[in-house]
């Protein structure tokens, strides 16, 4: 019997590995199969948002905090990369981790104290405020960021002496970033740190009674998540070659949040599904440009009405229901 179970497990695991491998091969061969520039650009866009949504999911889904202002840290990453590359000619490959670290440090300084003091929606409002403050500072600090004119002419990144110009080359870079990020997130979530985050999310008091240093792990969580937002910002700056503060408004933060929640907060695969669904839907309606955002809004509403827990997380909503039945505390 146990032998049979073992075989069955092996088969299931083998099957999931096979699917994963198949998916990876398809993604690797994608530029060879699809020659359309438009589709390649759409896929690159989706991959950028997968980085953003997955990293936001680390805060909202696993850290038990509620952040709305992810666009602010995306902005910090993008501007770090743009300024250092246009003024000092730093290389893309150094700036990629550096702008991540920069975004992390900014989140550390700005959100560290609020993370200590505030919970729930109040924390969310502070992140929202900081996101807008960052954008407005970028808009007004003209000597550093050129303000409303934006920063044009970001140089092409080079790879062993060859300039990276074509969309398919950018595609491979962002694919690499996504795969690396998903791998690292997976490993971190299965480590002591990830378990500490989840225990804080489930019950802060119990977690601190078990010896989890809540504040320290919160800060780690924020740093880790905003690091990836900064990386995405750096990639975006080099890919678009022009950035301005208009790309990082609150609406941008709301779109990322929508992808996280529509996909399913607190599940690993959720934000990926959410960003694929929402962006594909809006790109299908690209032809009738004005209706694109209407479709975006409608898609959010429809998914939320059909499945309030998000596409991927049936389990999470069950847990929430049980929690609500058990605790009287939550009721106001």
């Amino acid at each position: 019997m146990s032998k049979f179970k073992y075989l069955k497990n092996l088969l299931i695991r083998g099957k999931s590995h096979l699917t994963l491998g198949f998916l990876l091969v398809t993604l690797l061969l994608f530029p060879l199969l699809v020659k359309s520039q438009f589709i390649t650009r759409v896929v690159i866009n989706i991959l950028i948002y997968i980085v953003l949504a997955s990293s936001m999911n680390i805060i909202n889904g696993f850290g038990g905090m509620f952040s709305i202002g992810h666009a602010g840290f995306y902005c910090v990453g993008a501007y770090t990369a743009a300024i250092l590359s246009t003024r000092f000619g730093w290389s893309f490959w150094i700036l990629l981790p550096l702008s991540g670290v920069m975004a992390g440090i900014v989140s550390f300084l700005l959100l560290g104290f609020p993370a200590l003091r505030l919970r729930g929606l109040y924390f969310a409002m502070v992140t929202l405020g900081f996101s807008e403050v960052i954008r407005l500072i970028v808009l007004n600090w003209i000597t550093l960021t050129r303000g409303p004119m934006g920063i044009p002419g970001i140089p092409f990144p080079t790879f062993f002496g060859n300039s990276i110009i074509y969309n398919w080359q950018f595609y491979y870079i962002i694919l690499g970033i996504v795969v690396l990020m998903l791998f690292i997130i997976r490993r971190v979530l299965n480590s002591r740190i990830g378990r500490a985050w989840i225990s804080i999310r489930e019950d802060e008091t119990a977690a601190s009674a078990m010896g989890v240093e809540v504040f320290r792990y919160r800060l780690m969580n924020l740093f880790f998540a905003t690091f990836w937002a900064g990386v995405a910002g750096c990639f975006y700056a080099f890919y678009a070659r022009y950035i301005s503060a208009d790309s990082f408004t609150l609406d941008e933060g709301f779109s990322i949040l929508a992808m996280v929640i529509v996909g399913g907060q607190g599940s690993f695969i959720g934000p990926i599904l959410g960003s694929i669904l929402l962006l594909t839907l809006t790109e299908i309606f690209r032809g009738i440009a004005q209706y694109r955002l209407i479709v975006f809004g409608l898609a959010i509403l429809i998914v939320m009405h059909l499945r309030p827990g998000g596409i991927a997380s049936i389990k999470l909503s069950n847990i929430q229901e049980i929690k609500q039945k058990l605790s009287v505390r939550q009721d106001k």
């Binding site: 969310a124 405020g129 807008e132 939320m304």
Partner: protein, 291 residues
């Protein structure tokens, strides 16, 4: 003199913020999440006002009644789409529904009304009182008096009628008010509609103040209302005080630092208040929102 003028401008702008903030505070008290659709409710109210001004240019009262009715009706839809089904779901579901509905309304308005701004015909003229160097325009006086009158009516509605009592009870404690026989669903719907209707009136006032309406006018104003509510506290006097103070601070700030920093002032106030006294100036500890 210059600063006195700034304070007067601040009061007239702050009174619009205050009216929006009062509506926002009612909704925030009832559903316990910040509603991001409020700015678009204001926008719809302003457009309803714009078209009814074109239809009835000499009857301002009728214009306000039409705006009130239109945004009340929109409130019913907002309640149906964003709040009603999700009262027992996690809070972020409601929040993202308001975001989705806001995107939907904003872009539908851009499609139907066009992206250009529309000029509201000047009903009150450009006359002003001059006291020395200080100018007080008729529009400013009109706006302040409309706001005072509306808040006065609201006070009667909330404190002298049965449905007002139930709205206040529901915003304090849902389960307890259900226990004493209040129809919670109905009271929540009524509160949402009332908040939206006040938002619509604030929207047309904003349109009159700036002489123009356009589909994206609401977002910034709703953020200001939200900041005022947090600043003053989640209750009606608090929201009104927060709105007025925010208007004055902003105009003083523009006088000191220049107009690029107008929006930063509001957000800095938001962050500082949340870090020092999250319940707001007039808020009580037990009125804080829990997630």
């Amino acid at each position: 003199m210059f600063y006195l003028q700034q304070i007067i401008n601040g009061i007239s702008q702050g009174s619009i913020y205050a009216l929006t903030a009062v509506g926002y505070a009612i909704i925030l008290g009832i559903v316990n999440i910040p509603s991001f659709v409020h700015g678009d409710v204001m926008m719809v109210g302003a457009f309803a006002g714009y078209y009814s001004v074109l239809l009835f240019p000499h009857n301002i009262l009728l214009v306000f009644i039409i705006v009130f009715a239109a945004s009340w009706f929109l409130g019913i839809i907002v309640d149906m789409v964003c709040y009603k089904r999700f009262r027992n779901s996690p809070r972020q579901v409601m929040l993202i529904c308001t975001v989705g509905f806001s995107i939907f309304l904003k872009s539908s308005a851009q499609v139907t009304f066009g992206t250009q701004q529309k000029l509201i015909p000047n009903i009150l003229g450009t006359n002003f009182f001059a006291l020395g160097e200080i100018r007080i325009t008729y529009v400013q006086i009109f706006i302040v008096s409309v706001v005072i009158f509306t808040v006065f009516l609201l006070q009667i509605l909330l404190f002298r009628t049965k449905i007002g009592l139930s709205v206040r009870a529901v915003s304090m404690h849902k389960r307890a008010s259900a226990l004493v026989g209040i129809n919670v669903n109905q009271a929540m719907k009524f509160g949402t509609c009332l908040g939206c209707a006040l938002g619509g009136i604030a929207g047309i006032l904003l349109g009159i103040y700036y002489n123009a309406v356009h589909p994206l006018m609401g977002g910034n104003a709703a953020m200001k209302a939200f900041i005022s509510v947090i600043f003053g506290g989640i209750n009606i006097p608090g929201a009104a005080l927060g709105g007025l103070l925010l208007g004055i601070f902003e105009n003083m700030g523009v006088a000191f630092f220049g107009s690029g920093y107008r929006d930063i002032i509001g957000y800095v106030i938001l962050i500082v208040v949340l870090l020092i006294k999250p319940s707001g100036l007039l808020g009580r500890k037990e009125n804080e929102i829990k997630i």
